[in-house]
């Protein structure tokens, strides 16, 4: 088994301007925030971010990394609308591909299976289809002859996910109730990077939970980053809940440029993930 252990900075070094990057997790849940912050601190720009969006999208928008967001929602859960993303949209700073949540799943699955689209009724009659000419329809070649939406493959240059546990070879394990779409993000991408709360010996993973929790296998990953509290401030139960107080402070920083500047100076410009943990007190 190879040893794929790397750092957040190594991950950033693999990324380029203009890349399409998928981010796992869901809303403000189990987001690979140490990787996202490393990108936010880097000179990278013009990124297309593909995400069941949370503060990953907001933070990258606020730091000017984003050209386009491919999304169905961007939310902080307990704060329904992501304020930094709202600022980016309402100032016209980012373009979007607007998707239904289910089309999003099909797009990842299509990319993972290396087909250009998957057929669905989802989107028919809505402005997802009618106002986005890049999303097209397909006619069934069978006797029914029905017209379907051809949900386009969301092919990614890179995927970033955060799991609870993993091993040095890049197998990953989730311990909360929902795997979200992290395996599909990895399968849809050329370069796949997973942060974990803790790297363990492979043999120890089974004692954490049933075999079904070993959702990410090493064929899906190119690099693994050990990042305790790597999902902070998003939820990463059972290891830790969402840091609601911190999230509120983050959300509040979207109100003025001064507030954002202060937040950024304190929590981003402080340095790498170890420094961040010291500043936050994790």
């Amino acid at each position: 088994m190879p040893d794929k252990r790397i750092t957040e900075e190594d991950v950033v070094a693999e990324l380029r301007d203009g890349m399409t990057i998928g981010v796992g997790g869901w809303g403000s849940r189990r987001k690979p925030m140490s990787l996202v912050r490393a990108i936010a601190r880097s000179p990278l720009q013009d990124l297309t971010i593909v995400s069941y969006g949370g503060p990953d999208v907001g933070l990258l928008c606020a730091t000017g990394k984003v050209k386009k967001v491919v999304y169905a929602f961007v939310s902080l859960d307990s704060i329904p609308l992501e304020p930094h993303f709202r600022v980016a949209r309402q100032t016209g700073a980012v373009s979007t591909l607007e998707l239904d949540e289910g089309m999003f799943l099909l797009g990842l699955q299509a990319a993972a299976w290396r087909v250009p689209f998957l057929p669905t009724r989802v989107g028919l009659g809505s402005d997802v289809l009618d106002r986005q000419p890049e999303i097209r329809t397909v006619v069934s070649p069978y006797d029914d002859g029905e017209t379907f939406v051809a949900a386009p493959a969301l092919t990614l240059d890179a995927a970033l996910v955060h799991m609870h546990r993993g091993d040095a070879g890049g197998n990953g394990q989730y311990l909360n109730v929902d795997p979200y779409f992290d395996d599909l993000f990895c399968m849809a991408a050329t370069r796949r990077f997973m942060s974990v709360e803790q790297v363990q010996d492979t043999d120890d993973l089974r004692s954490n939970g049933p075999v079904q929790t070993l959702k990410i296998n090493r064929l899906m990953t190119d690099g693994i980053v050990e990042a305790p509290f790597g999902a902070h401030f998003t939820e990463c139960v059972p290891d830790y809940p969402r840091d609601e107080v911190f999230q509120k402070e983050y959300a509040g920083s979207a109100k003025t440029t001064e507030a954002w500047g202060a937040w950024k100076a304190k929590y981003l410009d402080c340095g790498d993930h170890d420094q961040y943990r010291k500043v936050v007190g994790l």
Partner: protein, 284 residues
């Protein structure tokens, strides 16, 4: 939360003052003993009548209360989620985080699409804008490129409306919400569904729109929105004035029914003991 649902919205503070004319009397069902919010709850519950064994997925405080009341009374076979990744038995209180729930099944987000796309679900969503054919918008207001107000995004609305039964809950019935034309079509209305033809639209059904003022449906020849009932204390004129398009108003519009004594007991003491419903729809 589920496809189409917002991520969990945490309810606000725990208690709400009740404004109940005649409070102190026995549980009677005269209009002045039932709050507006309780009529809304019953109107929501009625949306699920006859659904049988399907996933009832009401999103929002009063919708969740209504769905749970429906299951605990006249639709016992309904399946309901915990708002995250499991199906749970009930009833249990809304807004409580310490309730031990009986888990029936695992339903992570990606499984929700299996339920939606196989049609085994009736969702109740919100709407920032809705038109007379039931086209819904909660994505953003203003232009596509630079919206005046970025809202939820498309969420699961396109898939929900074209694949399973949909109802809407609107706690603030006003011309700002009930508009002649929505800025963006997230949820598909009857005119657009009809234009797709009978095959593509065969799973499309918008059953009802429940608001703080009354109940609306689409039981008209061209499926334009019709006034179904007014909540007691609300006039037909009031609803017409709060609707920004021509509403079909039958000659004999009735009142939304009152909760039965058992339903009122369920609402007040089992499903919403802290009165969260009164925060969402205060009694005028």
């Amino acid at each position: 939360m589920s496809a189409g649902g917002g991520p969990d919205s945490t309810p606000g503070p725990e208690t709400a003052g009740r404004s109940r004319a005649g409070a102190g009397a026995n549980h009677g069902l005269a209009a002045d003993l039932v709050t507006r919010a309780e009529y809304c709850v019953v109107a929501v519950a009625e949306c699920f009548r006859g659904d049988g064994e399907i996933l009832a997925n009401p999103i929002g405080t009063i919708p969740m209360i209504g769905g749970r009341v429906a299951r605990a009374s006249f639709e016992p076979d309904l399946v309901m989620t915990d708002g995250e990744a499991t199906f749970v038995s009930g009833p249990y209180p809304v807004g409580a985080t310490d309730t031990v729930k009986v888990v029936e099944a695992w339903n992570p987000y990606r499984s929700m699409f299996d339920m939606v796309w196989s049609g085994r679900r009736h969702v109740m969503m919100g709407a920032s804008q809705i038109d007379r054919f039931g086209n819904q918008n909660f994505a953003f207001v203003g232009s596509w490129e630079q919206p005046k107000a970025q809202l939820l995004g498309f969420r699961g609305a396109p898939g929900n409306t074209i694949q399973n039964t949909t109802s809407y809950w609107i706690p603030n019935h006003s011309p700002k919400v009930f508009v002649p034309k929505v800025d963006v079509v997230t949820g598909v209305g009857y005119d657009r569904a009809a234009a797709l033809g009978p095959e593509a639209s065969r799973y499309h059904e918008i059953r009802r729109v429940v608001t703080n003022l009354g109940v609306l449906d689409f039981a008209t020849p061209d499926h334009t929105m019709r006034l179904h009932s007014v909540h007691p204390g609300v006039s037909v004129d009031e609803i017409v004035a709060a609707t920004g398009f021509d509403l079909v108003v039958p000659d004999d519009v009735g009142e939304t029914r009152a909760p039965t004594p058992d339903e009122l007991e369920l609402i007040q003491h089992v499903v919403d003991p802290h009165g969260l419903r009164e925060q969402e729809v205060p009694t005028p």
